[in-house]
Amino acid sequence: MTGSEINYKPLEDDNPSRTDAMETLTLGQAPQTYLSNSDYRSAISASLSVNDSHPLAPSKQGSPIQLLQEPLEIDEDPFEDNYPDHLIVEPSYASEEVFVSCSGEASSNGSASFVHNNSTLSRSPTTLRTEILSISVARPEKAQEASGTLVTAGSSFVTYLILTRTNMPEYCNTDFSVRRRFRDIVTLADRLAESYRGYFIPSRPEKSVVESQIMQKQEFVEQRRVAIEKYLRRLAAHPVIRKSEELRLFLQSEGKFPLSPSLDMASRMLDGAAKLPQQLFGDGTMSIAPQEVSQPAKSGRDLVRMFKELKHSVTIDWGGAKPLIVEEDKEFIEKKESVKNYERHLLNASQKAEALVKAQEEMSEVMGELGLAFIKLGKFESEQAISNVQRSHASNVKAFATASVKASRFSREANIQGVKQLDRFHEYLGLIQAAHSAFSDRSNALLTVQTLMSDIALMNTRVEKLTVASSKVFGGDKSRNWKIEELKETVKTTEKARDSAQTEYNKIKEHNRAELERFAFERHRDFFAMLKGFARTQVEYAEKKADLWTKLAEESSELAVHRHRAAN
């Protein structure tokens, strides 16, 4: 990473300017924080009643689906549907960070106590917090790239209006909007992945291979708009990421999105290639700046490091150097496996849920068409009726047809709810993807540590050898001694890097752990809510249908008496 870039890390970093900002922040908020801590119990009981009415209960008018399908009217509140309860709620480990730094324990060593505090409070029910971050995406527009370069002559692209409403203090405004293009989303996603290793970061919408042609289609633009909105809302729902500077810049800074795509493959390779000669033709010193170890080598910035870690990982696999802490790794591997296993079941459930929803849709459709066919029959019989018998028949037919059409409508409405509810399965599949990435972050960080450790071991061995060789020379071997000194220096630097990498690894492990807990918590909360909502909706509409059909059956019950069809 070059120095000009702003380094945005989670709170317990050594960046002094950041801590200052944090302190001002926490001081401003202190009363609230203290309050939330001491009046904990009462806050919990207050929040529980709020959580009972889950946003997914079918009472909402102007449903989200409508909102998504219609172009945004300026008078409509774009944030109307934005706000599931859990966005209000603050997972306690985020607030704990604030609390800890408030009492002045913000240091890398504070991470131990941080961990401890985190673990006790993160298990408790959530408190009511009023930090809102509501996002809407609207008004896709075509724009022309100013033909700056010789290569690309003003190609067209689509921009989206990103509207934000918030009361978070980091944002100096409450309502604002900016225009962004999809490339900015990609940049945002990449930068977040860099800065928040170990966290389950929601995955961004996919790029499209044949973008320029597809972009012409209205439908695709709309789909993308929806996807972007979903993505940003998920980011806003993440307790840590919603406070990130990257997100804030994305949502707030006017004009061009200020962050550069640092993980751009091309520039990565260029940077790496630029460094290579220096590394190769230098004195074989493999110095890695401590701050560099915070990024995985595989990001391509440092080709030499990439090759080394690759070699090292191969060595590990072939039973060379022992992995650091065996038990923890084993536990981690088991955890990964169980997540994978869960993913398989979840995928299956998601697919079957989709099939179910489709079958329900087809059922309501056919009931509607049945009703229509009989409406036509009834009308015909009624027009042609020349006797009372026929007239009575026509009215039977009409009553039946009407019931069928009504039932079809009920089914369709129930299904619209069902689609939204059962979509939870699909949503959590996405979250598991994020978990996989977070696990990769951890593995990569571990690899970095281990590579550095083996480097140090190698260098120390060399120092020993040189020392021995040098001592054999009478009067000291000047060149060898010089080399020894140099190596010792490098060892020192590398040890610093190793320590840094170790810290990073520990941080990521902690992020993994906290996220897994959050995953379990939110999973329980969300799936219970989904199940309750689903069951309630089914009951509601089934009762409506039962009433409808029972009435019809009762009205025609006298016919059953004269049953002269053969009984089976």
């Binding site: 179910l356 056919v366 009931m367 049945l370 066919a373 018998v389 039977n396 009984a567």
Partner: protein, 431 residues
Amino acid sequence: MSVSSSSHHSDHSYILNSPGAMASRQRSSLRGTSSLSPVAPDQQYLSISVTDPVKLGMGVQAYISYRVTTKTNMEDYRGVEKMVIRRYSDFAWLHERLSEKYKGIFIPPLPEKSAVEKFRFSAEFIEVRRRALDVFLHRIASHPQLRFSEDLRNFLQADEEIWAMERARSQEGTLFKKKPSDFMQIFKDVQSKVSDVVLGKEKPLEESNPDYEKLKHYILELEEHLGESQKQAFRVVKRHRELGQALSEFGRAVKSLGDCEGGSLGKAFSGLGGRSEFLSYKLQNQAQDLLMNFEEPLKEYMRTVQSIKVVMGDRAQAFRQQQELSEATKLKEINLEKLRLVRPDRVAEAEIELREMRVQCDEATRRFEEIVKRMQKELVRFQEDKTHDLGLAFHDFAEGQAQLANDTADAWRTLLPDLESWSQVAENNGI
């Protein structure tokens, strides 16, 4: 075995143990005769049921035989109860005979012949066919004229060997014997064409009765509507089955997710899965009921409309015959007058021919008018039956849907308190 009441809603004749019936039974058993003594019309019953389909024969020769059980106190029937074994082709024979002898009456339709499905002989196909044959005989038994048919009696009573003989005989007959009317028809066709040319006259081939025209249009349009309704009914059955399938698979998937999840959330998923599987089973049952009690009746009425069209064809044919014979008679009359003047020696012969022609013409007129009269009555009966039967079908549909909806509501309703307690457990455990 099922007993179908032969009560058409207008004549309630199903008194099994009425004093009259008892008395006549006793009398016949005392006398030792096989024939039942006359019973008052309002106390007659004829109850037929088709049951116990059995697959016989092998391979391509395989067929289904049915047990046909008759309970009756009508005269000309031997004994109160009789059971015979019949197959589809026997029913078809009966249908054809009735169609020939009772022109103008809407002969109850048979289920389709279906050469293809026969080979598969699925349980569903067999049951659907059995039911349709049962309805076929029931309709005949409750028809005021058809129930007295001799062919019906033979069908219901003849023992196997006699029946085989009877069928062989009638088959033979139809192959070689042409009815007089058919010969006349061919003859008349030739003649009328000649006379057309001679007289230069346009022959009216169809009735110009406006009411009848309206009726024809009604029947044709009804056929379209019924066809559409039946198509939709078929799709409704199919969708019920598909939804049942989807629910079952969903239930399984969610249950296994629940096993993986474990804990109270796992129980909640299992609960969801279990309910889904239960409802899937209910849906499959409902699909079956819909097939039998909704789709099949609609199909029956489609077939009934077909049989009405057959009668319409018969009527048109009878009309044509009558027209042609009346033309021919007129010609003969003209001819006779000519002969009186020109060839007196031929007059006697011609007079005889004219007399015969007149008889035939009257016969044709009588036949035509009988068809018209019968059709009139049949249409009234048709409308009444349709109103009743389709009304019943709607009723059964509504009841089935109501039951299904109630089952659905109950299933999900009972899940809710469980979900509450499980989610409470989860919250207590800090997740």
